[in-house]
């Protein structure tokens, strides 16, 4: 039989005898084993291929009976720190014996606790009697197998456990003087069948009348024109077998493109808000102090407005007509508030900041939409002047939702919070009094998390009249927000917030897409 090899048809030699079912790689590996290489690492190095390829080849060869393959777990032994010391200065029982000499020694003279441990061993090994408070040597006390091992390990370093006396090794390990770890080991040896197969393969590759009837890669033409029967195909007048693979072998890893796990959490939260009927809003990163602070009735000398907490920019913003806000800060407007007193300065309100909360966007939206009902939310990045550490970053995501309508109450806010957290998967929620400068009443929701207990997650409240009145908002506004990073840490089991932003690609690749957010 003879066919022409087309470029796209890769065909292997085949004979009745399985021994010739050798791919070029199998043959190379077999050759190396025949040359006396017994472990896959060395062969891989020599052939400049991956070790895993050598192992897969060898496994095939072993199946065909061409090599014998010893796949085992080898125990590698080494001295512990204590073991190494004893290997140098001798075991405690040996040292006591040296002290005791021929006459023996009173027990009371063995004071060193490091030596005392040897007394029991003296008795066990039958090297001495301990009677009436005196150690009396007996017999020759020849060096034991355990001492031989200590010495061997001291000079050879790591040694295979199989080369050492089993009993003595067990004893040393129980005394904590020797430790061991397992290493996978492979050992190949060519069989007689292997030798003849190798010879045959070498002969056949030299021979010009090679027999080709083994197909590695199926071609389009083969599919179109071949007549198939199981794994056999009659093609262009010849019968071929499609070469079977070892399907259990691992493949090279590929990494699919994925959405960031944190983004999936953000997306889930957006979905929840949309499901609850909220409209998504967005705004500028750069805000005037007016919208970021003053509109929210934060006094101009409030500590949160200081340089060390807020990123200020070196420029001034346009601000809207501020008369009503100024009046509210200074005298409390006409809603029955005392105001903050003092003098409200529009220049301070014009200072630009990187928004410190999404509430700056919310209040602007409410000012533009003062009529009920309004249900709005945003999830966006906010900025605080914090040094970076595992639990603080200078920028992070905040979720915020507001509802404005006739007749809303604080109890309604608690209802919305319960609904929201239940949708987030937190069935147990409790409410503690809280404090935020622009809400009254204020509340800190806590959720129950197995293993952690009650965890504070976000803040909420009813916008103060001092906040809403200057913008003509006459209905109650229920508002709540939370830092999403904290939730992400809980959900993703993160200890370090920075991983979300300065991501380790290994972490991203390994985080399963099916992780529920």
């Amino acid at each position: 039989m003879k066919i022409t090899i087309s470029q796209r048809l890769i065909i292997m030699p085949k004979e009745e005898d399985t021994r010739s079912k050798l791919s070029p790689r199998d043959r190379q590996v077999l050759k190396e084993i025949s040359d006396g290489f017994t472990d896959p690492g060395k062969i891989a190095e020599k052939l400049k291929i991956k070790e895993v390829s050598v192992i897969s080849s060898a496994e095939g060869l072993a199946e065909m009976g061409l090599i014998s393959l010893d796949k085992g777990v080898e125990e590698v032994c080494a001295l512990t720190e204590e073991g190494a010391r004893y290997a140098e200065i001798g075991l405690p029982e040996r040292r006591i014996l040296e002290i005791a000499g021929v006459e023996g020694v009173p027990l009371s003279e063995i004071k060193d606790p490091a030596l005392k441990v040897g007394i029991g061993w003296l008795k066990k090994k039958g090297w001495a009697t301990v009677e009436a408070g005196r150690i009396t040597p007996k017999g020759d006390a020849l060096p034991g197998k355990d001492e031989e091992i200590l010495e061997a390990l001291l000079f050879q370093g790591e040694t295979s456990g199989s080369a050492l006396d089993e009993e003595a090794l067990k004893l040393l390990k129980s005394r904590g003087l020797v430790e061991s770890r397992s290493e996978k080991s492979w050992s190949f040896e060519i069989t007689d069948a292997g030798r003849s197969a190798l010879k045959m393969a070498e002969d056949s590759s030299r021979s010009s009348s090679a027999v080709f009837d083994y197909v590695a890669q199926i071609t389009p033409d083969m599919i179109k024109n071949g007549v198939w029967e199981g794994k056999y195909v009659d093609y262009k007048g010849t019968r071929y077998e499609v070469r079977p693979y070892d399907v259990t072998l691992p493949a090279e890893r590929i990494y699919p493109g994925k959405v960031h796990p944190y983004q999936r959490l953000l997306t889930r939260m957006r979905e929840i808000m949309l499901e609850m009927g909220f409209t998504e809003i967005k705004g500028e990163i750069v805000q005037s102090s007016f919208w970021n602070f003053d509109a929210l009735f934060q006094p101009q000398d409030h500590p949160a407005r200081e340089m060390q907490d807020t990123f200020y920019l070196d420029s001034r913003a346009e601000i809207p007509d501020y008369a009503s806000v100024k009046e509210m800060h200074e005298r409390g407007g006409d809603v029955g508030s005392t105001g903050w007193g003092g003098n409200w300065d529009p220049e301070v309100a014009r200072r630009k900041v990187l928004r410190t909360h999404t509430t700056s966007v919310t209040i602007k939206y409410l000012a533009d939409h003062p009529n009920p009902p309004v249900k709005a939310f945003s999830i966006d990045r906010v900025y605080r002047r914090e040094a970076i550490d595992p639990t603080h970053t200078p920028e992070f995501e905040q979720l915020e939702g507001v509802i404005m309508d006739d007749g809303l109450s604080f109890a309604n806010l608690l209802g919305v919070l319960k609904g929201f957290y239940a949708k987030m998967g937190f069935d147990e929620v409790r409410f503690r009094p809280g404090y935020f400068p622009y809400t009254e009443p204020s509340v800190e929701p806590e959720v129950y998390i197995e293993g952690l207990g009650w965890v504070e997650l976000g803040g909420a409240g009813v916008f103060r009249r001092e906040v809403t009145a200057p913008f003509g908002i006459e209905r109650p506004v229920l508002a709540w927000g939370l830092g999403v990073g904290r939730l992400a840490m809980l959900r993703l089991g993160l200890k370090d917030l920075r991983l979300l932003y300065q991501s380790d690609l290994g972490w991203l690749r390994d985080m399963p897409l099916s992780t529920r957010m």
Binding site: F311, Y312, G336, G342, A387, L414
Partner: protein, 552 residues
Amino acid sequence: MPVVRLYYEDLEEMVGASRDLFMARIAMMGADIGKSDEEDYVDVEFFPDRPDLYSSEGVARALQGFLDIKVGLPEYHVHPGEIALKVDPSVEGVRPLIGCAVVRDLEFSDPAIESLMDLQEDLHWGLGRNRRKVAIGVHDISRVVPPFTYFAADPSFKFVPLDFDESLSMAEILKRHPKGIGYATILEGFDRYPLIVDAKGDVLSFPPIINGELTRVRDDTRDLFIDVTGTDPVVYKALNIVVTALAERGGRIESVRVERAEGDLTLPDLSAAIWNVRVDDANALIGFDLSAEEVAACLERMRFGAKVRGGPGADELEVSVPPYRADIMHSWDIFEDAAKGYGYDNLTATLPGTVTVGEPHPIEVRKADLRDVMVGLGYLETMPFTLTSEMVNFERMRRRSRDLEVTRVLHPISELHTMVRTSILPSLLEIIAINQHHPLPQSIFAVGDVLEGGRTRQDLAAASIHSSADFAEIRSAVEALFGELAIEVEIRSSEDGAFLEGRRGDLMVGGERVGSFGEFHPQVLQSFGLDMPAVGLELRWDRLWPAGRSRL
């Protein structure tokens, strides 16, 4: 937030309840309980709007109400005193306001002294804006001779400040004393400094910096003189908080006559402020349905005085606000306390009936599309910081900074975060740089905010690195991307320094440049510490579609 250390034994005695009882309820009064492994105390954080809770005495007083041990307005009797303090007009432009009081017959235990010192410090922080607005001095009155004088002295005036054994001038104190160094900025620009002296000219205090050593409070101190100075009427509130806390310890309050050009004051003024509030308003805001008597009971539990005005079914309450409360600005502040008195845990959480149809923001909808395309192309999403530096954003990218477009922050936390990014690609290269130990190819992308001339814009950036990354690869990605977005793009040769000459393109949509792509210039790769070929693209996409809330 201020942390108050509560010694269980001390507090049990003051409250008249067991630690188990008050620890179970204290959080519902408005507090964050710290973790404490200690046997004999616990650290509790209180909110910045309640400086009256910055002392264990204040906490005990509130707990007594909250636990129904002693409810209603606390009564403090101010005994008429003989002591006067004269305010010299010279303090007018420097530190005009002063409030004083005398508290006698005190017996200081260790927890009591600790509590008083902590209260002072927390008030300096919470109400005092680091002593600028309010500063408090506490003195052993037996060491000095009234009447006292508050005036602005020449900085060369000398006395022995607290913790020193030598006389220093006030100017020297600002330079040498730790407190002087710490608070000198408050007195910057003044040529005379505030000072309180006694009849003999001995110094009690150099507010807001330091007391004199002479009036140091010792174990055996029984009678205190308290001065609170500042720039805002809140000084009188701070005085009330300190004085009532000491009264809770059994002190006897005596008034001081503060003689001023604009009229004398007799301080402390511990009268309650009266607020008339409507029960309907409270019910509407909180969402409970209580009678006037029930709301009054809730308020009394929070140590307000509350009287129902009118007969049965009356809707109005006359509420007396304790003189130490600094947070009552509006009737809602009182209603919140009614809710706390009722117990947040007793409120019925009910969903509001507001029905609306939600709508996603078009930007987020587009972002989701972009993620779909990039993920489909095998790119992994990242979410880098938006704060960056000009070094990374421009220099390493071989791009020139155009000043008008850059948003720099005034006081960066580090030189790595001096501005908000104008481009996302540099951050992607940074992420790739820290991930070179992971297998290649690495293909990553990010969508998100950038700032251009202070305005928030939207970018998509992607980068891919491996030994055979080339122009064809990124060009294919660009084609696929624009194909999926159904946007016609024209590709022109580019001048973008980030990419290699002859292997870079500009993305033109409707005649406008909206981005660029290509093979990264090897100098760019070198500057990020990369030694593999890499390609990238960046697209400013927010104006590719007509603005507005289109059906998407």
